[in-house]
C-alpha cells in the first residue's frame, strides 16, 4: 500500500501541501479500546489508495489527499471491516473516528489471531522507538507444549532474552536480571508471585488469556518498579460475544470458563455501550481422585473474573479480579493409619500460599487528542507454614500493595505526542517466623512510592522517532526517603520506502524498591519479599541497548539486539547476619550483564513459528561478611549467577496439519548453567554442651546402618557448570465440531528423546572411589487433556 499514512498521527510525514486535505482519527473496538495495527485506506475513483496501519493508540493520519469524496475502509483481522464516506475540501483537516466490532472467526482462526497479535508488534515497531516488545498470543500459548496444560509463563520462556533455569520452575530471567526484577502484570496490575507449586505452574488460566506481551528492555518512562522487564498478561474482553463456556481437563486440574458479551440493555443500564465478562475457575485434584492411601493432601485453586464495560464517549471500564491458593494440609493425615514403616515419623505440616488481586481500569478519550488511563488496584501475596502437631512453629510472609495510577496522553501537533502521569502506591510487608516458642524473625514495614513521569515521542520526519522521557521515583519507608531521577532516551531510524527496516538505540535508568529473598539456585521455592529502607538497598540499573529490526510484509520478522546492563543494590540474604543487629540482614552488591538477542519469526501461513538465539554473560558481586578483619580474605566475591546461560536457542514451529488439526514443536538448547561443586566432605560432630565432648551418633537415635552425618565443603561459588541442556517437545490438537460446540483433545509429549538434563548433582566423597549421582529434570513425559467449548 502506498503510504502517506504512517501509523500514529505523529508519525506522518510533513508532506501535505496547501491544496491537499488531511484525514485524522482513531480506530477503536466497540467498547472504545484503541486498536493498533488496523489497516486504514482512503480510496477514490481512478486514484491510488492511500493508507497504512494505526499505531498503538489506534490513531491514524492520512495526508496529501486531493479534495474529493473518499471511501475510507478500516480492516483488522478478527474484526468486521467498516467503510465510511467522507468528503474532503482543499486544505481541510477532517476527523473521522472508526469503530470495529469483533468478529468470531471459525475458519482459519489460527491465522487470524496470529496476525492480529503480530500486528501489535508491528505497530509498536512503527510507532515506538525504544521498547523491545515481544507478543505471544493465545493460540501460540496453547500450541506450545507444556506440562499438563498450556501455561503463559512457560510460553514466555521461548522469547529471546528470556532464560529459564529449570523444567520445574516457570520463573524466568530476562537479559541477566534476577527473577524478582520482572514486573508481572495481569491486565495492568502487578501480581507478586504468580506461581503454583513453587513455580511449577503459573496461576494464569490459559483459556482467558488473550496474549502476553513482554517488554524485555528499553521500556519508556511510564514503566517502573522493576529493573529488568515487564510482562503484561492480558485477558479477553469477550465484547459482543454470545454466552459460552470452556471446560478443560488435564492430568493437573480441571478448569472452567464462563463468558459472554454484555447485552446492550445491561450495558446501557450500567451507563455504557456494551462489553463482556468472564468467570474462570481451576482446581487440581490429586487430593480427591487418588485412593486415600496414595492421595497427596495438596490442591491448588484459581478463581478469576473480568468485566469490560464500554463507557460513554468511547471509554472503557475494566474490572479484573483474581484469587488463588496452594494448600498442603496434612491436618487429617494419619501416618499410623497408613501403616508406614516409619511409624509416627511423618512430619505433618500445614502450608498454604497464594495471591489476591483486584483492579479497576478506566480508559477514556477526550476528543481526538486526549486519552486518559486511570488504574486503581490492590494486590497481595501471602504464605504461611506451620506444624500441625506443634503449635510453637510458624513461618509467614505477606506483601500487599495498593496503588492509584493515572496517565494522560496528548497529541501535540502532528509530530509530537506526550504522555504524563503519576502513581501512588503503598506497599506493606511482614515476614515472621516463630519456633520453639520464640519469635525469631519479625520484620515488616510500610513504604510509599510516589512516581511522576513524562514521556515524549517526537517524529521530526518519517524516518526518525525520538523518545526522551523522565521518571521520578520517591520511596519513603522507615523514616528514610530515597529519590531517583531516571532518564530514558531512545531513538529509531527507519530505512526504505516501506519503513520496514529500522535501527534503534535506547538507554535508561531503572530503579526497584523490592527484593525477593528467594534462592534462585533452588528451582522450587516461593518468594519472600522485603522492601527498600535505610538498611536494604535500592536496585538501580543503567541499561543501554541497540539493534536492528526488519519486517518482510506480514510474514517475516527479524531482529538483532545487543544490550549492556549494570545493576547496583543487588540484595542477598546475609547468611552470617548478627541476630543482635537488624541492619545487617541483607548484603548489598552489584552486577552486570551483556548479551545479544536474535529473533527470526514467521507469523502467517500454515507453518509459523520462530527461532531465537540469546547470548548472555552475567555477573554478580557481593561482599563477604566474614572477611572483615582478615587480610587474606577478599572482601568481595564475584560469581556467575544461577541463570548465567551463555547461549540459549529456541526453535518453535506451529503447523496447521489439516483444517482442524494443529501441531506444535519446541526444541530448546541451553548452554551449561553454573553450580557450586562440593570439593570435600567431613564428619558432622555433635557437641555435647553439658560435658564438652564431641560425639558421632545417629540422628534420632535410630538403629541399623545409620546415615553418616556430613558437612559439605563448597568450592568456588558457581565455579562449575552442568552439561548443556536440550529438549524436544511436541503437541498435537484436534478440534471436533459438534452442534453444541467443540471438543479439542490434545496430546503433549515433553522431552521426546528423553534427554536426562541434570537438575542436581550429589557428590559422595565418603565412598571409595568417590561418586557423583544426581537427579534429572523431566524425563519423557506424555500428557493428554481435553478442552470443551460450548
Amino acid at each position: 500500500m502506498g503510504g502517506a499514512l504512517l501509523g500514529d498521527p505523529a508519525s506522518v510525514q510533513a508532506q501535505s501541501s496547501t491544496g491537499s486535505a488531511t484525514l485524522v482519527g482513531q480506530v477503536t473496538d466497540s467498547v472504545g479500546t484503541p486498536l493498533g495495527g488496523v489497516v486504514v485506506r482512503a480510496e477514490r475513483a481512478q486514484t491510488a489508495p492511500l493508507g497504512g496501519l494505526t499505531g498503538a493508540a489506534g490513531r491514524y493520519r492520512i495526508t496529501g489527499l486531493a479534495p474529493g469524496t473518499y471511501q475510507v475502509h478500516a480492516q483488522l483481522l478478527g474484526y468486521e471491516g467498516t467503510t465510511e464516506t467522507v468528503v474532503l475540501s482543499a486544505g481541510e483537516v477532517s476527523v473521522l473516528n472508526l469503530r470495529l466490532r469483533s468478529m468470531p472467526v471459525a475458519l482459519e482462526a489460527v491465522v487470524v489471531e496470529g496476525r492480529r497479535d503480530q500486528q501489535r508488534e508491528r505497530a509498536r515497531f512503527e510507532s515506538e522507538a525504544g521498547v523491545t516488545a515481544r507478543v505471544i498470543d493465545a493460540r501460540e500459548i496453547r500450541l506450545l507444549p507444556g506440562l499438563a496444560e498450556a501455561d503463559v509463563l512457560r510460553a514466555v520462556e521461548v522469547m529471546p532474552g528470556v532464560i529459564s533455569t529449570s523444567d520445574l520452575s516457570s520463573s524466568f530471567n530476562v537479559r541477566g536480571g534476577s527473577a524478582d526484577q520482572n514486573l508481572i502484570l495481569l491486565d495492568g496490575f502487578p501480581i507478586f508471585n504468580p506461581f503454583h507449586l513453587g513455580g511449577l505452574f503459573s496461576v494464569f488460566n490459559s483459556d482467558v488469556v488473550a496474549r502476553a506481551e513482554l517488554f524485555a528492555g528499553g521500556f519508556s518512562a511510564e514503566y517502573g518498579g522493576r529493573a529488568s522487564s515487564v510482562l503484561n498478561v492480558e485477558t479477553k474482553s469477550y465484547d459482543g460475544e454470545p454466552f459460552g463456556m470452556e471446560l478443560g481437563v488435564s492430568v493437573l486440574a480441571t478448569r472452567v470458563n464462563l463468558h459472554s458479551g454484555l447485552p446492550q440493555r445491561v450495558g446501557r443500564a450500567l451507563g455504557g455501550s456494551g462489553g463482556g465478562w468472564f468467570v474462570s475457575a481451576r482446581r487440581s485434584y490429586f487430593d480427591k481422585l487418588l485412593p486415600a492411601e496414595q492421595a497427596i493432601p495438596y490442591h491448588l485453586t484459581d478463581l478469576q473474573g473480568g468485566l469490560t464495560l464500554g463507557a460513554r464517549g468511547g471509554g472503557t471500564l475494566r474490572v479484573t479480579a483474581y484469587t488463588g491458593a496452594d494448600v498442603l494440609d496434612m491436618s487429617d493425615f494419619d501416618p499410623q493409619r497408613e501403616g508406614d514403616a516409619a511409624g509416627g515419623d511423618i512430619f505433618r505440616v500445614k502450608w498454604n500460599w497464594g495471591n489476591r488481586l483486584a483492579g479497576l481500569r478506566w480508559t477514556q478519550p477526550f476528543g481526538t487528542a486526549w486519552l486518559a488511563d486511570v488504574r486503581l488496584g490492590y494486590t497481595r501475596y501471602g504464605e504461611r507454614f506451620g506444624l500441625v502437631d506443634f503449635d510453637d512453629h510458624e513461618f509467614s510472609s505477606r506483601i500487599e500493595q495498593r496503588s492509584l495510577r493515572g496517565e494522560l496522553r496528548r497529541d501535540l501537533g502532528s509530530v509530537l505526542e506526550a504522555r504524563m502521569g503519576g502513581e501512588l502506591a503503598k506497599v506493606r510487608y511482614r515476614n515472621r517466623s516463630v519456633a520453639g516458642g520464640s519469635e525469631f524473625w519479625n520484620t515488616g514495614e510500610e513504604g510509599v512510592l510516589s512516581t511522576g513521569f513524562t514521556q515524549l515521542r517526537w517524529r521530526p520526519d518519517e524516518h526518525w522517532i525520538i523518545e526522551p522521557g523522565l521518571r521520578l521515583d520517591s520511596w519513603s519507608a522507615e523514616q528514610s526517603t530515597h529519590t531517583y531521577l531516571s532518564p530514558r532516551f531512545a531513538v529509531k531510524r527507519f530505512f526504505g520506502d516501506e519503513r520496514d527496516l529500522a535501527a534503534k538505540v535506547a538507554a535508561g535508568r531503572y530503579v526497584q524498591f523490592l527484593h525477593s529473598l528467594r534462592d534462585e539456585s533452588f528451582p522450587i521455592s516461593n518468594d519472600v519479599w522485603m522492601i527498600t529502607n535505610a538498611d536494604i538497598p535500592t536496585v538501580v540499573s543503567d541499561q543501554v541497548q541497540a539493534g536492528v529490526e526488519k519486517f518482510w510484509g506480514e510474514q517475516w520478522h527479524a531482529s538483532v539486539e545487543g544490550y549492556y546492563r549494570r545493576f547496583r543494590g543487588i540484595a542477598a540474604y546475609n547468611l552470617a547476619d548478627d541476630p543482635n543487629d537488624p541492619s545487617d540482614d541483607m548484603l548489598a552488591g552489584h552486577g552486570l550483564s551483556y548479551g545479544l538477542d536474535v529473533l527470526l519469526r514467521r507469523s502467517t501461513g500454515r507453518l509459523s513459528g520462530w527461532t531465537s538465539i540469546s547470548l548472555l554473560r552475567a555477573e554478580r558481586t557481593l561482599p563477604d561478611p566474614l572477611a572483615d578483619g582478615w587480610d587474606d580474605l577478599p572482601p568481595e566475591t564475584t560469581y556467575a549467577p544461577a541463570f548465567d546461560r551463555r547461549a540459549d536457542v529456541e526453535l518453535v514451529l506451529q503447523y496447521a496439519l489439516r483444517r482442524r488439526t494443529e501441531a506444535g514443536l519446541r526444541w530448546h538448547y541451553g548452554s551449561p548453567l553454573p553450580y557450586t561443586q562440593p570439593v570435600g566432605q567431613y564428619v558432622q560432630w555433635s557437641y555435647d554442651m553439658s560435658i564438652g565432648r564431641y560425639r558421632l551418633e545417629p540422628k534420632g537415635g535410630g538403629s541399623g546402618d545409620p546415615k553418616l552425618p556430613l558437612y559439605v565443603v563448597l568450592g568456588a561459588r558457581n565455579g562449575e557448570r552442568y552439561p548443556a541442556y536440550h529438549r524436544l517437545d511436541v503437541s498435537i490438537r484436534h478440534t471436533l465440531e459438534r452442534r453444541w460446540g467443540t471438543m479439542t483433545p490434545y496430546l503433549q509429549v515433553l522431552n521426546v528423546y528423553n534427554r536426562m538434563n541434570p537438575l542436581f548433582y550429589f557428590y559422595n566423597y565418603d565412598r571409595t572411589p568417590a561418586t557423583m549421582s544426581g537427579i534429572s529434570m523431566f524425563p519423557v513425559l506424555p500428557t493428554v487433556g481435553l478442552e470443551v467449548a460450548f
Binding site: 564428619v683 537415635g701 541399623g704
Partner: protein, 323 residues
Amino acid sequence: LIRRWLRTQRLGAAVGLLAAAGCELAEVSTPEGRDIVVVEAALRAFEAEQQILLHRTLRGRTVQGEADAQVVVRTSTGRIIRFAYDPVRSCVQVDSSYLSGEKPLDVQVSCYRSAEVDGVWVLPGEAYELRVDTRDGRVIRGRTQVPGDFALLGLEPVQMEGRVPSTRCTLPPRTLLPVHWSSSRGAWAYLTEMEVYGLPQALHGHGIDGVPDPLKLYGVTVSETDTSTVVPKNVGVFERWSYPRALLLAIQNGLPAGTSMKFTVAAMDRNLVNSLRGNSFHPSGATRISTVVGDGVGMFGSMVPLILDVEVTERGDSPPCPT
C-alpha cells in the same frame, strides 16, 4: 538460625517434590575430594581443660587425623596457651553403629588438650586467637570473643573451680518448666540442650518404639536479649524430623514421673552460631559457614554454659523448680 531452619524444612518438602518429578542419574565415579584440614574448637568458659580436634576431609570411610600439629591459643593479654597432641585419650565418642556394618568408619581424629596447669583461662567476655601449624606447613587461624557472664534466674548456682556452674531442682511430673536467664553480653544466640533419662521405662506401655535413653533434644533462642524458654515444650526444634512424632508429643507438656533431665543453656559467640546455622542450600548435603581462615575449614568459637539438673517427681531431694 530458626529462619534458616524453617527455610530448610520448606526446602525439604520441595526436595521431595523434585525427587518425585525427576529421574535418578546414573552414579559415576569422580576424583577424590580435596584433602582439607578440619578444625573443631569450641572453648568453654570456666572449664580447666579445653580440647581441640583436628582431622581431614573424608577419604572414603576414613577420617584421617592431623597429628603433631602446633596448636596455640593466645589470650587478649598476650598469654600463650599451648595445646598438646594427645594420642592416647580420644576427644570423641563414636556410636558403635558407625564402627561396624558393611562400611565401618575408620576414625583417626587427633585430639589436642590444654594443660591443667594453665588453670581456668577461658573467661566470659575475653577474646582469643587460634593458630594451627600442621606438619606439612598449613596454617589455620581463628578469632573468638567469649560472650559475657550470665545466670539462671531464680536458681542458686553451685560454682566449682574448673567446672561449669550447675544447679539442681525438683519438678512435678507433666509440668512445664519456664527457664529465664540474665542477658549475656555479646551473645549471638543461646543454645539449649535437654538430656532426658529414664524415658523408656516411663513411657512403657504407650506404644512408642525406639525411645532412646537418654533422649537428647536441642532448642535455641536467638539474640542477646531473648532469654527465656519453656522446657520441654520449646526444646526439640531441630529433632522434629528425627524422632517419632508420638514420642515428641508425649513430652510436649511435661516429662513423666521417674525421669530426670540435664538442661544446659549456653551463650554462644558469633562463630559457634555461624557454624551451627549452616551455609547456603546445597543438594549434596549440609553446609557450614567456616569460622577459621587459611589452609583449612571448621570452627573456632566459644560459649558460656550453665547447667540445670532436674529430677521429675512429686517430692525430690532438691528444692522445687520455679514454675
